[in-house]
């Protein structure tokens, strides 16, 4: 077990000064967890304030375990989409399967505890180079995917969206981001705080028996990974139990129903960083209360654990309720008898571990003695750490080139590129159709779509974005680009974007250059979200993504976008529809190659395309209008690999559905990644064509003719679908 603390000397002095005495061992570990960057956002919080968090579709902004967006109404009921997004980078680098699985497990609890049914997950992943079969990078890339699949499949939550990039910048530090989405009626939300009048109520712990796993997890994720410490670090990683979680979720749904019947307002919160201490302190403190917790009441897996391990250890699959005492027996009965938690996992159960106090102190008792007694506001709210940073500037290209484009040789190379080729070998290991509500499954289109409310036409779309090739050139641009790309993907399936989440994966905040990238990326996210009139309702910051060699990961602001669909019958279905349709390119057609797959393959440099929010809004508006009128037959956002890749994907999608169609285009450089959309429109389209460029026509045979070069679709699709088969056989 690690005994190293991440607290700094000045922080230790502050604690001793405030307490008027030396802190106890338990208090030291409590502050170590609670004041870690992971829990406190001490260095990032004031920058995050720049992000827009309010707007027409926001039902609940950041501040609780998840944010909530207003999806729409059905039968007079207003439905909300609960959304949370976080990282599990450090654990996944050390023990990939368990680290990634517990990432899904944790994010699902964040959504569950809002009173929601968990309806979908997504997994933006960033891996190192995986070409060498014996490399740790490949072990990580495989283990992570298997961990996500094993957990998500078992709990029965469909995987709807995700992306993956392979880049040497992630060789020592993979990024495993996870997004979870839930459905809740807006008048039935359960909050992550003790409600007014909760003094004297019960604090009830439910879930897995507390064990020594995950001790020191919060501060672990706020340290730089050292290869030599790997064995020691493994102890900080939690152990997933999706089997128990499956039952815990269903039992919690039953408790929600019981509480609704009795019209009770209570508090419910996930145990994450900081364990029992962190969760119980936050749920009562944010309601304006204190708590007294009896560590001896905690159901444990092994006797004789030190109190600090019971208090701050991060054993998975646990949540805390704040309940009026008269309802506690019924909640315990549902978990322990109806859903037989003690029979599902060793000593798993729901148990009362303490009470809410009016006095604003946080007190832990262990074997008859007080092992922690601190001002709860000092513990949960007082830490702030303004770090210096260096203004981040763009990496300007050494040369500005735009070579003559040889489509004949470039198209197959770009389709086989690791950032462009088919992700199916990876995501076929995930269940994207469990729960029976899937409209557009994972990988079928730019965004996944569900019909979440049984019997209703309402749909919800989910997409993610974040491009590391751009992140290494310009962090601010990368933030804006991630927002634009995630939003475009949601629009391309026919949804209206209603909100965003972000996970900000950066290097060491104590290095001003690396911290400057974080600050700049937040500004980029803010610029783009404001320009598109969208808000961030939840998010997460993951810093210290740096190896001992001192290299930070490429700036990785990763964004998820939620979209609302009024009628799932109008979702744009995948693939070209018919021969003889016009193909339009809507959006910027600037010839710029900076950050593109083309630039990497051709070993050239160039500027990043300019971002023009007015033009973006116009392009998005045109696509929305075209889809609403039914004149858009098929559509994809232009991303990695450029416009020709987006069109090829439409042709591949059609081919997979048995439609033998192709297309012919002619355009100077069809590999520039300037964004926008390509779409197939009806011949008698009423689409306003101003601002759209007709680039070609669909063909009645499975062939691509691009700038005069001819390709058979079956062969090209093989080139595109093969590369990851070796990594994910």
């Amino acid at each position: 077990m690690r005994d190293a603390l991440a607290l700094r000397d000045d922080e230790l002095e502050r604690i001793a000064l405030a307490l008027g005495r030396e802190p106890t061992v338990v208090e030291l570990h409590a502050f170590d967890a609670q004041w870690s960057e992971h829990c406190s956002y001490k260095s990032s919080r004031h920058h995050l304030k720049k992000l827009p968090v309010a707007g027409g579709d926001v039902a609940l902004g950041p501040g609780e375990d998840s944010g909530i967006l207003h999806l729409g109404e059905h039968d007079g009921v207003r439905y909300g989409i609960v959304i949370a997004h976080e990282s599990h980078n450090h654990p996944s680098q050390v023990v990939p399967f368990e680290g990634a699985a517990t990432g899904i497990g944790g994010i699902v609890r964040d959504v569950l505890c809002m009173g929601a049914e968990v309806i979908g997950v997504a997994d933006p992943l960033r891996f190192g180079r995986v070409e060498d079969p014996g490399s740790h990078q490949r072990t990580v890339a495989r283990g992570v995917v298997d961990g996500i699949g094993a957990y998500g499949n078992a709990i029965g939550v469909p995987n709807l969206a995700g992306d993956v990039y392979f880049d040497e910048g992630f060789d020592d530090n993979a990024l495993v981001n996870v997004v979870a989405m839930g459905l809740v009626k807006l008048d039935e939300v359960v909050h992550s705080y003790a409600p007014p009048g909760a003094a004297g109520w019960d604090v009830v712990l439910v879930g897995k028996a507390t064990d020594p796993s995950g001790f020191g997890g919060a501060s672990f994720s706020s340290l730089v990974l050292d290869a030599g410490d790997e064995e020691a670090n493994k102890g900080a990683v939690q152990v997933p139990d999706p089997f128990l979680k499956n039952v815990l979720m269903r039992a919690s749904y039953r408790v929600f129903a019981m509480l609704r019947e009795r019209k009770l307002v209570v508090g419910f919160k996930d145990l994450g960083a900081g364990g029992i201490m962190g969760c119980s302190a936050e749920i009562v403190s944010s309601g304006g209360f204190g708590a007294q917790i009896d560590l001896d009441a905690v159901n444990v897996a092994v006797e004789g654990m030190p109190p600090e391990v019971v208090a701050v250890g991060e054993t998975q699959e646990r949540l805390i309720w704040v309940l009026p005492p008269e309802i506690t027996p019924e909640v315990l009965r549902i978990y322990n008898e109806e859903f037989t938690l003690p029979e599902i996992a060793y000593n798993a159960r729901a148990v009362r571990i303490g009470g809410v106090t009016a006095e604003r102190r946080y007190v832990l008792r262990h074997r008859g003695t007080t092992v922690m007694d601190v001002d709860i506001e000092f513990l949960t709210g007082s830490i702030r750490d303004e770090l210096p940073y260096v203004e981040c500037t763009r990496v300007e290209p050494a040369r500005r080139e735009l070579p003559a484009v040889d489509v004949e040789t470039l198209l197959p190379k770009i389709l086989a590129h690791r950032d462009v080729c088919s992700r199916e070998p990876l995501y076929r290991r995930y269940d994207w159709v469990v729960r029976g509500r899937t409209v557009l499954p994972r990988g079928a289109a730019d965004a996944g779509v569900l019909a979440p409310v049984p019997g209703a036409r309402l749909g919800v779309a989910l997409a993610v974005a974040g491009n590391p090739r751009i992140g290494r050139l310009d962090a601010r641009y990368a933030g804006a680009h991630a927002v634009l790309e995630a939003v475009r993907r949601v629009i391309a399936v026919g949804a209206r974007p209603i909100g965003l989440t972000d996970c900000l994966n950066f290097g060491n905040p104590r290095k001003p250059e690396q911290y400057g990238e974080f600050v700049a990326a937040v500004e980029g996210l803010s610029d783009a979200a404001r320009a598109l009139d969208l808000a961030f309702v939840s998010g997460n910051v993951s810093l210290y993504n740096e190896s001992k060699s001192g290299r930070a990961v490429p700036a990785s602001p990763i964004v998820a976008c939620v979209g609302a669909v009024r009628d799932v019958g109008h979702v744009v279905s995948p693939g070209l529809r018919r021969a003889g349709s016009a193909l339009l390119w809507i959006g910027s057609r600037e010839l710029a190659v900076g950050g593109s797959v083309l630039a990497e393959i051709a070993a050239i440099e160039g500027d990043l395309p300019a971002i023009d929010y007015v033009a973006e809004n116009e392009a998005m508006g045109m696509i929305k209008a075209g889809i609403a009128r039914g004149s858009v037959l098929s559509c994809r956002a232009v991303g990695d690999g450029g416009m020709l890749v987006a069109l090829a994907r439409l042709a591949f999608d059609a081919y997979a559905r048995g439609r033998r169609l192709g297309f012919e285009i002619d355009f100077a450089n069809p590999f520039c990644e300037t964004g926008g959309f390509v779409c197939e429109v009806t011949g008698d389209s009423e689409l306003d064509l101003s601002g759209a460029l007709r680039v070609g026509t669909t063909l009645d045979r499975p062939e691509i003719v691009a700038n005069g070069s001819r390709f058979g679709i079956a062969e090209l699709r093989r080139v595109w679908s093969q590369p990851l088969e070796e990594v994910y056989p």
Binding site: R429, G436, R437, T438, A451, G569
Partner: protein, 255 residues
């Protein structure tokens, strides 16, 4: 018979809600019955075992659940002629309980649904299954046309039927192949089989025809919105091919 259907929930089941909903939409009088309430199963006339990972697939998918208290009731009920339908993990449980193909003793399986091939991984994929027996062979399929083709999703890590050559001959000779994997047009081929299952078998039926175990999930392609190949302009909330199979099942229960 009043035709009441129990949808069994084992610890680890994950497809109970959509299965229940589709049964009800198809006219079934169905309820969820949890493992802690096994005694209630005696009040029902038919059992549906939905998908999931009962008991975490420990030992082998379905192996532990086959010994659950609920399965005592299912075994007894089916011996008295009640109907049982298992989907995915439910199919694995029925097989481990020895109820399909039913050529051995109770809880002594004569075949296995085991790790997919060629790579032993979970595979999620849209498939079609084709009725491989006379519809009248089972009350559950009696409402289907000859050679009916049903859309479904396969989503499992252990869906490949294996058995010894003699046991496979027994399955063929006893007409225990209920459904085989097929292409959308009903034609057969290796490309239609997602997991290397013996003889392309997707579902097994017992000798009496009252127990049917199907690996892919018809309930996940139950509505037009689930079905990517739906006709343009079709009502997204209207039932699709998966519901056809469930209607036949419900009709069989009411028979």
């Amino acid at each position: 018979m009043s035709g009441r259907i129990a949808v069994l929930v084992f610890p680890g089941t994950n497809s109970e809600d959509e299965t229940l909903r589709l049964l009800r939409e198809c006219g079934g009088d169905a309820d969820l019955v949890h493992w802690s309430n096994a005694g209630a199963l005696d009040e029902y006339d038919a059992y549906v075992l939905p998908g999931g990972f009962a008991y975490e697939d420990r030992v082998r998918a379905g192996a532990i659940a086959a010994h659950d208290r609920m399965m005592d009731r299912v075994i007894e009920g089916t011996q008295r002629g009640k109907l049982a339908l298992g989907i995915c993990n439910g199919a694995q449980i029925l097989l481990e309980a020895g109820l399909v193909p039913g050529t051995g003793a109770v809880r002594r399986p004569t075949a296995a649904f085991t790790h997919n091939a060629p790579v032993p991984h979970f595979v999620c994929r849209h498939v079609y299954v084709k009725l491989a027996m006379d519809p009248a062979r089972s009350p559950m399929t009696a409402g289907l046309a000859n050679d009916a083709v049903i859309p479904a999703y396969t989503a499992n890590g252990q869906g490949r039927l294996v058995a010894t050559p003699e046991r496979l001959r027994e399955i063929a000779a006893g007409d225990h192949q209920a459904f085989v994997y097929a292409r959308a047009d009903g034609s057969l081929g290796d490309d239609a089989i997602p997991n290397g299952s013996a003889s392309g078998i997707a579902a097994l039926v017992n000798r009496e025809g009252n127990v049917l175990a199907i690996m892919p999930h018809p309930e996940r392609d139950a509505w037009n919105f689930n079905h990517l190949d739906r006709a343009e302009g079709s009502d997204p909330l209207a039932p699709s091919g998966g519901a056809v199979f469930f209607r036949s099942f419900v009709a069989g229960v009411r028979r």
